[in-house]
Amino acid sequence: MPTRRAKIPATKYPVERFALDNGLRVVLTPDRSAPVIGVAVVYDVGIRSEPQGRTGFAHLFEHLMFQGSENLEKLAHFRHVQGAGGTFNGSTHFDYTDYFETLPSNALERALFLEADRMRGPRLTEENLRNQVDVVKEEIRVNVLNRPYGGFPWLTLPPVMFDTFPNAHDGYGSFDDLESATVADAADFFRHYYASGNAVLAVSGDIDVAEATALIERHFGDVPARPAPERPDFAEPDLTTERRSTYTDALAPLPAVASAWRVPDPVTDFAGYLPFVVLAEVLTDGDASRLVERLVQRDRTVTGLGGYLSFMGDPFDVRDPTALLLQAHLPPGGDVDKVLRTIDEELDRLATDGLTDGELARTQARMATHLLRDTDAVLGRALRMAVLEQQRGEPGLLNELPRLVGAVTEEQVRAAAATLRPERRASVEVVAGGAR
């Protein structure tokens, strides 16, 4: 008798959507169970849109958005959010840039004011630009240059897999490009991409919908209308022969490898894409997963393993082209070729023999827990819904994800595994230069 499967629960977060006359799209999802709110503004511009010769610009610009705006001096944004008891941040992705706060709910109007003010216009000054170029360089040093495995694999694998500048370049940026950025570049970037028509505002948590709607109209209603720029097609052909690349990491004590295969378009072919999201977990989620059992426990050829969709690990926040990634850390003297051969073998086995009894159901139950846990925080909900609105016009998809993940079939997972052929694979290998 097949194993009984855990019932996959769903959430019922309410969703209100509307657009202002200036094109700003808004998503509200009220939840009055705790006196806190999440506010997210997402702009449809990311690393893939930055100009040639301006690597790292989308991220640098994210920093500039915190440096004052029409009615706010430098440092005021931070002080007003934190002085209201909240926290804030922003982040730059391949396909979008987000700005967000989570605060006690009595600060709703203040948060809306702050976001509207910088949507009208950040203060782009030479002094702030130079200061933030320095800060970003320190960020790159701490996250990439001064530590082992810095940028592996999110910065080091795309240039192996892709050929065009938008998909292949270093999204953190070269110091040369960062240093030569100008205030005029920033003003252009803002005018082009930070248009009200290119943005989504999401507010979640302890709000009254009518009151929040009125406040949003009050603060964002007179942001000048600018349409969204046309988004270029970033498509690239799939690989037909295997690609491999190797580099020495002077600080890394042990070898590592990451491989990626292209997957169906996450937006236009969601049904085709979802089985890959499930497959990544079947392969790598915990001690009971296929590749952990085989590579870590049985063969002892790797010491740590991860599998996920998209270079930043955000399966539902990314557009085409993207990939399924597997990354592994190896013991001293580990054999990367052997690890890749075993992965091929296990993928073959999965495609040919299928899954074991209960293997799929338990993986899906665990994925449901992860999805529910991520959206338990009001801010997690606001961010997710903002991106789902922006990329799909479907913020309520958030409620559906656990069920949709649960509906993926064994046949679909097998078929997905069968596409991960060596000739479609791009890999990057870290050679340990820091062994002592």
């Binding site: 008891g85 203040r110 200061n131 082992p148 010491t303």
Partner: protein, 444 residues
Amino acid sequence: MTTTTVRPLPALGPNRRLTVPKQAERTLGNGLTVIAVRRPAVPLVELRLWMPFGRAHLARGAMLAQTVLAGTEAHSATEIAAELQKVGGGLSAGVDPDRLMLSGAGLVTGLDRMLELLVEVLTGASYPGDWVATERDRLVDRIQVAQSQPSHLARTALLTRVYGRHPYATQTPEPDQVRAVRPAALRRLHAERVHPAGAVLVLVGDVQPTRALDAAEAALAGWRGDGHVAELPPAPPLEPGPLLLVDRPGSVQSSLRLALPAVPRTHPDHAALQLANLLFGGYFSSRWVENIREDKGYTYGPHSVVEHSVAGSVLVAGAEVATEVTAPALLETSYELGRLATVPPKPDELEQARQYALGTLQLGMSTQAGLASLTSAYAGNGLRLDFLAEHAARLAAATVDDVAEVAARYLAPAKAVTVVLGDAARVADSLAALVPVRTEGAST
């Protein structure tokens, strides 16, 4: 200058009062305390089991955490993981000088099953030889990777410098010590130290608290054993002295770390010290961040925090700064500490920090995972959630004078223990222009 409408900053609405969620507590016959808290936002439950673990052998303790879930008489490690997965669950183990912690989360419908598997591990972990051997190698590799991370090396140097001969001084075992750990030693350590007396289980989520206590009692009442209890000696007072410069040739950044005295959560100075720490470097809108990041661009993420352990509390400030500005960054750090210790803060600056402290209490309680971790951390230090309300009242009552007084008492730069990890050849001379410096090689 363009002319734009001047828009006033909207005022805040009235503060919502901090309400502590519904909870229940029971101490079982075997000495285990169970605390259950209701937060039904999503159909999940969070689990934290805090077991006192002071003075445990460092390498064996680390290996026990690495392998406690590696199998029982009834189930292999793979089967345990699969059984937990079936109910959307997972467990992991971690260890520090105070405690061994088992934590996890799963679908609330799987609570009973998670508890069954938990007790199976607690009473029957078998430490199978082949699995232990694999995990031993993995842990050794992980330690080796950690030892190539500047943040780890700086922390290691700071702990040694701060704690001297106290058990807190060394928190990561050496690879050779790990290689020497055998399954028999793990079984012995488990029998000796993994027991219910003094342990606290926290369950938070979509549960009726009394029903969750019943479920925990049904599952865990049979967990027996009350071996050995080890009290930690109080942490020693900080002893300022020369700056310790740890050489890491070729570093493109220096890791700057300062330790300053602090007090436990229950100390009368705690709330005011928390506010003083925020003013100095404890949040983004602090003097230190505004100075060395937003004004001078020396660093990406400077931060200071009061760390509470069972045997003592300490304030730690850390920043990764460009090599060429290492000494200037230290100069600005001492300046900001000295200014806070000798000049009272402005009332509006204090209000801003106070609102942040109060607001983040609300935020920390607003998720199941946050509430579970907070409840567990408090319980490990003998406190309960109602302490939150008392602490909020103390934060609300602290005056400018209170904060000035604690800043002088705890944050004066003369009281700091300072460690810098970086390229000594490039930074030693300029640091020596500011303070006496003692240089040593990296410890690994």
